[in-house]
């Protein structure tokens, strides 16, 4: 039990929150409510998983919120133009991949810091999305698009199915493949990785493409929920995606990643949001508590690291 807790330190706060909410509210433990929480967590876990790879490399992608919007706008306008929904979704995912590719190329080939490069694409892609949608809602009613959020294969909500599959794939890629090892190696020491002959630039580009596609997928889910595309959607989402990963325990400077942590981080945040909703707390307090949670997660880790430093026999820390 202690081993499980040490590997997933988020379990304890999560259980605590659930316990408090179960006592404090009548409706938290209702089946429908738990499902709501899990669906919301699944939706933010999907981009969080991709962002985990990015942070494990010691880099950020700030442009994901704009990708969410552009993907939704592209998909909805394609449906309005008469394309079948699966084709429209495919186009949207391709647009996401193209944004990721552009990020990756600007960062690796032109030597622009990821923070600034993705900040610039954040602004540019938002501009494209506003220009393309002309500021108007693109309202669609498409059963296929609705299925993304509303569908229930075998009775399980579709976002949860997608998140479980993505988590399994992400865990496997991070922990069992060469690609995952390379990502962490680049995150802990990029120069050493380059000197050892790893295809550093190609791995970095691949990760940005992955984040781009995940961002587009996020956009499709949001558009599926709202049944519309809009240039204003997804503002500030980049911080949500990064928050989930950081609370989950992935090292901010790269070199270490926790896929399970990211998923638990998503569940924890959505549980707290749901609880605050049930307790009739205004949205302002939800922001504050997410902010405090973020600081607390890192503070606990910082204190633990400081204690570890003062211990007589330092435990060998992986790759840092």
């Amino acid at each position: 039990m202690t081993a499980v807790l040490r590997r997933s330190p988020l379990l304890l706060p999560l259980l605590g929150t659930v316990l408090v909410l179960a006592v404090a509210t009548d409706s938290f433990l209702a089946g429908a409510n738990i499902e709501n929480v899990l669906v919301a967590a699944a939706i933010v876990a999907l981009p969080g998983l991709a962002m985990t790879f990015c942070l494990a490399m010691g880099e950020f992608d700030l442009s994901i919120g704009s990708t969410v919007s552009l993907a939704g706008v592209v998909c909805c306008s394609a449906i309005i133009a008469g394309q079948p929904a699966p084709v429209a979704m495919g186009i949207a995912l391709a647009v996401g991949a193209a944004i990721g590719l552009a990020n990756g190329l600007v960062i690796t080939k032109l030597g622009v810091t990821p923070f600034i490069a993705t900040l610039a694409t954040l602004v540019i892609v938002r501009g494209l999305s506003l220009a393309y949608s002309d500021g108007h809602d693109q309202i669609v009613s498409s059963a296929a698009l609705k299925y993304l959020v509303g569908g229930r294969p075998l009775g399980v909500p579709m976002p949860i199915v997608l998140a479980v599959v993505a988590t399994a794939a992400g865990w496997w890629a991070m922990n069992r493949t060469r690609f995952g090892r390379w990502v962490c190696a680049i995150g802990s020491n990029r120069e050493a990785a380059r000197v050892s002959g790893l295809p550093v630039d190609r791995v970095r580009i691949a990760v940005y493409v992955l984040v781009g596609v995940a961002g587009a997928g996020w956009g499709l889910l949001i558009s599926s929920q709202l049944q519309k595309g809009n240039g204003q959607l997804g503002m500030g989402f980049e911080l949500d995606a990064i928050t989930v990963v950081v609370i989950g325990g992935t090292a901010l400077l790269g070199g270490r990643a926790s896929i399970v942590g990211t998923v638990l981080g998503a569940v924890l945040i959505e549980t707290i949001r749901n609880g605050l909703n049930l307790l009739n707390t205004p949205p302002a307090y939800q922001r504050i508590s997410v902010g405090l949670l973020l600081i607390a997660a890192l503070a606990i880790k910082g204190i633990r690291r400081a204690e570890a430093r003062t211990m007589p026999v330092p435990a060998p820390e992986a790759a840092r």
Binding site: V112, A120, V123, S129, P282, L294, I295, A299
Partner: protein, 338 residues
Amino acid sequence: MKSSTSLGSLWDTWGITAILVLLLAVAPVLTPDFFSLDNAQSVLRESAYLGIVAAGMTFAVASGAFDLSVGGQLALCSVVSLIGFAAGGTALAIVAALATGLACGLLNASLITRLSVPPFVATLGTLFVFRGVSYILTQDGPKTLPYDQIGSPFVKIGGLNVAGVPVPFVIMVGVFAAAWLLLRRTATGRRVLAYGSSPEAARFCGISATRLRLFVFALVGVSVGIATLTYITRVWTADGSAQDGFELKVIAAVVLGGTSLKGGKATLIGTFSAVLLISVLNDMLVSEGVPSAYQRIVLGGVLIVALTIDGLRTRFAAPGSLRRAISGGRTPQPGPAR
């Protein structure tokens, strides 16, 4: 500093200024009434709050950190300042803005030093917190400057001119002059740069990391407080969503100016020029009738081009010249600069 005569260092300090001068040279061609008094005044007025915060942020970036919470700070300072104005008039409004900014900065610094939270996450967290508190304070609607108070001196700050120069711009120039003196002529400024280029080495030289962080983040907070005064007296209203995305604009201006995100190198002249460049470009796009969606695309493109030039230059510079540039040619630091 002898080493600052090389072409690369010249570009670091004056590159963005050169681009600004070029842009100003072609501006009248593209926008005939660009240099009209009205237009010039409005560009300078509009640049002030971005510039003042960017001056403070230059210190944070030079020390190797950045403050993502400035947008939330600006919202909170504005709201608290307007509450102060309603309660006690001009003096209280000014004190409230500055004190709120200082408190925000000290809170950020304490989280970073006492709880050892990385600056990125600490200020990301406080961004949510500051905005959240602003929302709570404006639950019954946004705070506004009452129109019947138009005679009070505070309300006028944003609109006044001194000899044709907008007062917000005068304040901004004053802030930059003070910041330049602080960075280049005091031991504190040297400590900020030393800490930014190598925290380890700085610690060995007896620089207190705790005090340095406190100073830098308090400085950012106070600059937001000052900027607030030029901001709310222009827009007259404030709520929690005021200036969404402000933090990214400020950091973009600092980096565009030539201050290194890795720390240890700073140019206030560059920041100043970059702020004006952004404002001028913005103004030209607006007066050309370019839709706001396309304005974003152009601004983002400019950012990428500027940083690409910087990236290429760093990459092809002779090995060692970067290290010399960072250390100012005084104390060579072996080892990777991470």
